[in-house]
């Protein structure tokens, strides 16, 4: 009976998470901290990447720089859009890189990074930010940067999570209301 109850609860939670209905805000900073740690580990792993780590085509990645003087005065919804588009770009880039890399160990790391990005997207959605719709033509209007190696890619990936994404989540209005 306990087992079935446990399974039922898990299913319930999963279905709840999968629904696009308003989710409970995920405000725990440890969630993102874990993703940041894994991104760092992936970046370190990429340093030892030897084959297939040079990209044939440069990939577009978001800008990671944050000027606090400007960021503090910025609009939260704009920042959310910026973050979500950046995440989308990174997801695209990681998918592209996965094809070219041959090492299976790195494959697992890449898959993990991809799923993490997807989870972060869900966290952002849970905070009631307006949803981001990727552009149809594949280009973004925000400034981007182009990387030509996986090491650069994952460095950008780590910096993006540490910087803009973390700032967005830690200063989300939904969380601030909860924490009073």
């Amino acid at each position: 009976i306990l087992k079935t109850t446990y399974i039922f609860i898990l299913l319930f939670i999963w279905t709840r998470l999968g629904l696009p209905s308003p989710l409970r805000p995920i405000c725990d900073p440890r969630v993102l901290d874990r993703f940041i740690k894994e991104a760092r580990d992936t970046e370190f792993a990429m340093r030892s990447c030897s084959e297939g780590c040079s990209l044939a085509e440069p990939l577009s990645v978001p800008l990671t720089s944050v000027d606090f003087a400007i960021w503090e005065k910025g609009d939260v919804s704009e920042q959310a859009q910026e973050v979500q588009s950046g995440l989308w770009l990174l997801a695209q880039a990681i998918s592209a890189v996965r094809v070219s890399i041959t090492s299976t160990a790195l494959h697992s790391l890449l898959d993990n990074s991809h799923s993490n990005i997807h989870s972060i997207g869900q966290v952002i959605r849970s905070l009631n930010f307006p949803e981001y719709t990727p552009p149809a033509d594949g280009t973004v209007h925000e400034d981007t940067w182009r990387v030509s190696s996986t090491l650069e890619l994952f460095r950008v990936h780590t910096n993006f999570l540490r910087g803009k994404v973390r700032l967005l989540l830690s200063h989300a209005p939904a969380c601030r209301r909860d924490s009073t």
């Binding site: 900073p29 720089s65 944050v66 606090f68 940067w145 650069e152 950008v156 910096n159 973390r166």
Partner: protein
């Protein structure tokens, strides 16, 4: 006279010692300039009167000359400040400069020890970056060029203005402060000396934080033993409050063995396991935790002292010890008491003695089993003998000194006794076990007619008259005793028998009461056995026959003083004489009347 305050134009610079201070354009309504006065223009221009700087001032006299009609005008002109103001301003600026220089000095020295790369850069807040390096000599900062460029951005490289600072005599420190910084992007820094690249470094600004030490460190007692609480303020930087880790060092005053404790994300800690009543010195330092932000350990905050509360546990421990020791003592005493009997049994084992099984064997007869058998245990010991008795009871003949010519009424008892004895014997033969009745009951009834009455009431066939004799008190006679159950009072006379040295006593008591011998305790046993077997008592009527219990024939024998040995009797076993002997004294005590034959004894026989 001077309603208007013409706005002076231009800015003036005032020398204030060696610092340059630029004053802004005085606008009359805004901040005051260094020296703006209203000057009255006098006729003679040389003479001027100065007034305190005000927007408007009245022109007074011109010192002799006449003021012009145009009135005065405000003029700001350069000149030395009033000494007091200048001093105040200089001191203020000096302090500001010194403070920043001092702060930089401490941090720079800290960084020099930790960071190997040049230039050493650190961020004190979220919007600044300070880079420096030290060189021998004292060259001008213009010889150097400091360029930086943010990577992964579309920005160009920029140049930073350098300042020089002399350090430690011969060295010079060149400092660059970036006006604005960007985080989470790599920064590429290059230093050129005379156009030649000397340093190059790539760093992330959010990884080189070197903050101020934690402020407001307070240490308080928690109220518990051996504990102190340390609180401090986290750095007041946005987004940094949750990303800090702290290190607390504490040591007793005077000791050099400090202990360190780490704290993450909390700005207080409780120190445990401290020595009681000791003064502790505590200091704290901070560092970003390394996940999102990273950096160097800050300088230690100044030492803060607090004394731990004195030890109070002694009283409690003492009370506990006392209680526990009391409990232990009680337990040991209990064990000892319960163990003592066991111990006694072990150490002095009780020698099993058969005394309780054999009444009077050791106490009365001194272990003489034969003697004891004759008196004491009548029950089954007597049974084989009484079987013999049953089989062949023989008449009892008593020889006495006195004649037997006494009239019957005078001595009915002996007469009766004799008669009854024979009769009873015969009856016993006939009944085979029926109890005989005591004939010569003398308890409290020394009436000479008593026996006659008893005889008359006795529902027995008459005793052969020929054999009736009257016995003197000194005569020896045998009477048969019978005892019933109802008699309990008759027990007492028997019990009160004192020890007599008379050999023969007449006893009319039932053997239920103890018949004590002088030096033997057979009374108890005889009475006991008599209780078992003798169902008769002195109060029993002659007619009363006990219906149950072992029947017995008791004989009371009176004697003038001669002990009679009845051992030869067929139904008297060896113990019979003893039995007779046993009760010699009894009778005397039991029978209060002096008329009663003083000598006599009851012979009990059981079967």
């Amino acid at each position: 006279m001077n309603p208007r305050s013409p706005p002076p134009t231009g800015s003036v610079s005032v020398e204030c010692g060696k610092l340059q201070y630029s004053s802004h354009n005085w606008r009359g309504t805004q901040q005051r300039a260094v020296m703006c006065v209203c000057v009255c223009v006098c006729e003679r221009e040389r003479e001027r009167e100065t007034y305190l700087p005000r927007r408007r001032a009245l022109c007074g006299g011109c010192g002799g000359s006449r003021a012009l009609d145009s009135g005065g005008r405000c003029v700001c002109f350069s000149g030395t400040m009033s000494p007091v103001r200048a001093l105040r301003r200089c001191v203020f600026l000096l302090l500001v400069c010194v403070r920043s220089v001092c702060a930089l000095d401490s941090k720079a020295s800290l960084l020099v020890a930790v960071e190997p790369e040049d230039p050493k850069c650190f961020a004190e807040g979220m919007r600044d970056l300070t880079c420096f390096w030290e060189e021998e000599g004292s060259r001008s900062p213009d010889d150097y060029a400091f360029t930086y460029m943010y990577q992964e951005t579309n920005e160009e490289s920029s140049k930073c203005a350098l300042t020089a600072q002399s350090v430690g005599g011969s060295k010079t420190r060149y400092i660059c402060r970036l006006p604005s910084v960007q985080h989470f992007v790599p920064l590429d820094v290059s230093v050129f000396q005379d156009g030649r690249l000397i340093y190059n470094r790539n760093l992330l600004i959010d990884h080189v934080f070197l903050l101020d030490p934690p402020a407001n460190v307070t240490v308080t007692q928690t109220g518990e033993q051996e504990q102190l609480r340390v609180c401090w303020l986290p750095p007041a930087l946005m987004d940094m409050e949750n990303s800090m880790m702290y290190e607390v060092e504490y040591a007793p005053t005077g000791s050099h063995m400090g202990k360190r404790e780490s704290v993450r994300a909390r700005s207080e800690i409780i120190l445990h396991s401290l020595q009681p009543d000791t003064r502790y010195n505590i200091r704290v330092r901070a560092k970003p935790d390394g996940l999102s932000y990273s950096g160097y350990w800050t300088a230690w905050a100044p030492w803060v002292s607090m004394t731990t509360p004195p030890a109070e546990m002694d009283l409690l421990i003492l009370a506990l010890c006392v209680v526990i020791s009391l409990i232990l003592i009680l337990l040991s005493l209990t064990l000892l008491l319960s163990y003592r009997r066991f111990l006694l049994k072990k150490v002095w084992p009780v020698i099993p003695s058969p005394e309780n099984k054999f009444d009077g064997l050791f106490s009365v007869y001194g272990g003489n089993f034969h003697e004891w058998l004759g008196v004491g245990n009548r029950g089954f010991w007597w049974s084989p003998t009484f079987l013999l008795v049953e089989e062949s009871p023989s008449p009892l003949e008593v020889l006495s000194e006195a004649g037997f010519t006494a009239p019957v009424p005078v001595h009915p008892m002996p007469f009766k006794a004799l008669g009854l004895s024979k009769k009873e014997v015969e009856e016993d033969e006939r009944t085979g076990g029926q109890d005989s009745v005591l004939m010569g009951r003398r308890k409290g009834k020394a009436h000479p007619h008593w026996v006659l009455e008893q005889l008359q009431s006795l529902d027995q066939p008459s005793v052969p008259c020929c054999e009736l004799h009257t016995l003197e008190p000194s005569d020896t006679y045998v009477s048969l005793n019978y005892r019933s159950q109802q008699d309990s009072g008759a027990m007492s006379p028997l019990a009160d028998i004192s020890e007599e040295s008379l050999p023969l006593q007449v006893l009319f008591e039932s053997p239920g009461t103890p018949t004590s011998f002088s030096d033997l305790e057979s009374v108890t046993y005889s009475s006991g056995s008599g209780e078992i077997s003798s169902q008769s008592s002195l109060e029993y009527p002659y007619g009363a026959w006990p219906l149950k219990g072992p029947s017995y024939i008791s004989m009371t024998v009176t004697d003038s003083g001669i002990s009679t040995d009845y051992s030869h009797m067929s139904w008297g076993t060896t113990g019979l004489g003893d039995l007779a002997m046993a009760y010699t004294n009894e009778y005397k005590n039991k029978v209060p009347a002096p008329r009663l034959p003083p000598h006599g004894h009851t012979v009990y026989s059981y079967y």
